[in-house]
């Protein structure tokens, strides 16, 4: 049963198993365990980024494609929903239209990029995607009428997802059962399903071919696999899932703008999530996403405390100033890449065997 759900891809490490269970359960009960707008927000973000990172791992870890255009697809998904909700009003039909439109555009674009440029060297492909992505970002900012330009779009969600909407008139364990809660569980469920689907894809015969191509494209061709076809399909799948993640984000935050969906920062974030977690292991993406989103949201508070402690000490206080949280995030990245060369999951698994 479990095997079937996880597509035979068992954690293969006690600690990893524990961590995963904690994450899945933790996210499920988060709204009640840690009530409050911020924690709910963080939880939702974690869900979305798990999906995004996982979809990127399909490219990076399993197929060996380095693409910097992944956030573009994320953005397409987000803007799809955002524009639809802005134009067609806060209706479920609008949501549906937005999601479908986003999917179509994303997949088409991915297929195009794939067929044209997956033949070139990895690093050149990376740079081409970088170019395409930034071109797309420019386009977005040049069409303010449609995308709201730099300001992005602020729109209302379908009534059932708003804070004002209250469910089964009342509260559970002191938590108001309002639309945000509905929204959160919508995001949670969707994310769970998407990750499991990806897990299945990478453990399917198709997935095994992807890994072969990553290892040795020349030989893969020689024994009869058309690498371009496989790579392109993989990119399309990844793009589709990324777009869905984007749609989820748009559905959660009721606002969409360039630097939360299209910016290079996000691109770097998901890269970090995948590599820190462990490339080529879906679970790595999950761990990485959780850790990073946490760090981004709570490191600052932590430093605040440290800073109090060090008040007075000249340079140190400066170093531990809450505004320097990025500094420590950076240090953390470096240490991670240092100590988990194969990513956290990789290290956990080695430890075991």
């Amino acid at each position: 049963m479990v095997r079937a759900i996880l597509s035979d891809d068992l954690p293969r490490s006690r600690w990893l198993a524990v961590a995963l269970v904690l994450i899945v359960v933790g996210l499920a009960v988060a709204p009640f365990l840690f009530p409050g707008a911020k924690s709910l927000n963080v939880a939702a973000k974690i869900c979305v980024f798990i999906v995004l990172a996982a979809s990127f791992d399909l490219l990076l870890g399993y197929t060996g494609i380095v693409s910097f255009a992944h956030t573009m697809f994320f953005g397409i998904g987000a803007y799809g929903v955002a524009i639809a909700l802005t134009r067609l009003g806060a209706e479920w039909t609008a949501v549906a239209v937005g999601i479908v439109a986003g999917l179509i555009v994303a997949v088409a674009l991915a297929a195009l990029i794939g067929l044209f440029s997956l033949r070139v060297r990895t690093i050149f492909f990376a740079m081409i995607t970088l170019a395409v992505a930034s071109a797309f970002a420019i386009l977005a900012s040049q069409l303010p009428a449609l995308t709201g330009g730099e300001d992005g779009l602020n729109y209302r969600l379908p009534a059932a997802l708003r804070a004002s909407f209250s469910l089964a008139d009342g509260t559970l364990f002191g938590v108001r059962l309002n639309g945000r809660l509905v929204d959160y569980y919508l995001v949670y469920a969707a994310s769970l399903v998407l990750v499991l689907v990806l897990l299945r894809v990478v453990n399917s015969p198709f997935g095994s071919v992807l890994m072969a191509i990553r290892e040795n494209p020349f030989r893969a061709e020689a024994i009869g696999y058309r690498t371009v076809v496989y790579r392109t399909i993989a990119s399309c799948i990844a793009a589709a899932v990324a777009a869905l993640a984007g749609s989820l984000l748009a559905l959660w935050s009721s606002q969409t703008n360039p630097d939360t969906t299209l910016s290079f920062d996000i691109m770097v974030d998901i890269l970090l999530m995948v590599v820190i977690g462990g490339m080529g292991t879906m679970y790595g993406a999950v761990l990485g996403a959780v850790l990073l989103v946490f760090a981004q949201n709570y490191l600052q508070d932590l430093l605040g405390i440290a800073n109090q402690a060090l008040a007075g000490v000249p340079l140190l206080a400066g170093l531990f100033h809450p505004d320097r949280w990025l500094l420590w995030l950076g240090v953390a990245f470096i240490l991670c890449v240092y100590f988990f060369p194969t990513g956290i999951v990789g290290s956990l698994r080695n430890r075991r065997s």
Binding site: G36, A37, K38, N41, S141, Q142, P144, G149, E150, D151, G152, N154, R156, R162, A163, S164, S253, S254, Q255, N257, D259, T260, Q300, P322, D323, W325, L326
Partner: protein
């Protein structure tokens, strides 16, 4: 009930490119509270508790931060934020939680325009006010103007409102050329060439009006010696560190929102003295004044409303006139935009240091700038 503190959230882009500005806003805000409460930090016996939140200039975080402030921290009133995009994302939240939001220092017109809702007040000036002020400095005789702005929404809006502004102040100047350069432009040779070609044979006085956010092109334009065609450049006011770079261009003119030397009133005198004391001699800049204005508006409002009940607050603040380092400001009833004076400045001959730079040409009174009402209630 009476004794529980008044909670105020200050949300701003504390980390990220505009960090320096954010720190000014915070400093100004705190000084404002101190001044308005005569150092007691209490209003009608209720302590003031300020909660600081960093949105890293990111709209989603700004939104989240405001939700957290209203929802978790149960603040009575919130202030923010540095980036217009972020501020726009915050507006709906205020409406959702039915709590007052004071926008400072974001300038986008929409905030008190089509995106406005009745919980939103703004102490900061908006782009149109900037434009009107700039126009007010270009009233006299006939002038040929070429504009230079960044090629994206803000830049284009800026020029658009510039045109309206010129009309509004009844200036005879005409815009003969509009130049838009990419947002990140660092090399202005091409733009300058186009502008010079457009202006050089004009008989009248020739002025290049620059509307620019970020690294200012003025020095680079000056390097290309516009004076050889008798072309002047109107850069518009800016923060002190930037204008310090313009020292070697005496006679530059433009309009500015705040310069520490200009306002003559007790509030500003106190601010300048106090701020210099706290920051070993450095005078307050743009955002310090803004922060202080926001704080003073809040205190005034709560006093007037006799409490922090939202409806009472709104009632009290609509049309309210309050003191700020820039003298009196008034929240216009219709769109809650604070109407305020602006300043027409000129660069001193050779400034003694990096902060004593400008001389006042004249103060532009608020009512001279006919600010259109762009929101619908």
């Amino acid at each position: 009930q009476q004794q529980q503190p008044i909670k105020i959230a200050l949300i701003y882009g504390k980390t990220g490119p505009l960090e320096a500005y954010a720190r000014q806003t915070e400093a100004g805000f705190m000084l404002g509270l101190e001044y308005a409460t005569k150092g007691t930090m209490e209003i009608n016996g209720r302590k003031i508790q300020v909660i600081l939140k960093d949105d890293q200039l990111k709209p989603d975080l700004a939104k989240a931060a405001l939700e957290q402030a209203y929802g978790d921290d149960k603040v009575d009133i919130a202030v923010g934020t540095s980036s217009s995009a972020a501020a726009l994302a915050m507006l709906p939240v205020a409406e959702e939680y039915k709590k007052v939001l004071i926008v400072e220092p974001a300038v986008a017109d929409q905030i008190t325009g089509e995106k406005w809702n009745r919980y939103v007040f703004r102490t900061a000036r908006n782009s149109t006010q900037d434009a009107l002020a700039a126009a007010a400095t270009l009233k006299d005789e006939n002038i040929s103007i070429a504009t230079l702005a960044q090629d994206y929404a803000f830049g284009r809006d800026g020029i658009a409102s510039m045109k309206q502004a010129l009309a509004a102040v009844g200036s005879k100047a005409k815009i003969v050329h509009e130049e838009y350069a990419p947002q990140q432009t660092t090399d202005f040779t091409a733009s300058a060439q186009r502008i010079f070609d457009a202006l050089k044979d004009k008989p009248s006085r020739k002025i290049v009006v620059v509307v620019w956010a970020g690294a200012h092109p003025l020095p680079k334009l000056m390097d290309l010696k516009p004076e050889r065609y008798g072309i002047e450049i109107a850069p518009g006011g800016n923060i002190l560190p930037v204008m310090a770079g313009w020292k070697q261009f005496p006679g530059l003119e433009g309009a500015i929102y705040y310069y520490w030397g200009f306002p003559k009133n007790p509030v500003n005198d106190w601010l300048v003295a106090e701020y210099k004391k706290k920051n070993n001699g450095a005078p307050p800049d743009f955002f310090v004044a803004g922060g202080m204005a926001a704080a003073m508006a809040i205190v005034e409002g709560i006093k007037k409303a006799g409490g922090t009940d939202t409806e009472k607050l709104i009632a009290a603040m609509e049309g309210m006139t309050f003191d700020t380092p820039k003298g009196k400001m008034t929240f216009r009833k219709e769109d809650h935009q604070a109407l305020q004076v602006m300043y027409h400045w000129r660069m001193k001959k050779d400034p003694p240091d990096n902060v004593d730079l400008l001389e006042l040409v004249r103060e532009i009174p608020a009512d001279e700038m006919k600010l259109p009402i762009k929101n619908k209630r």
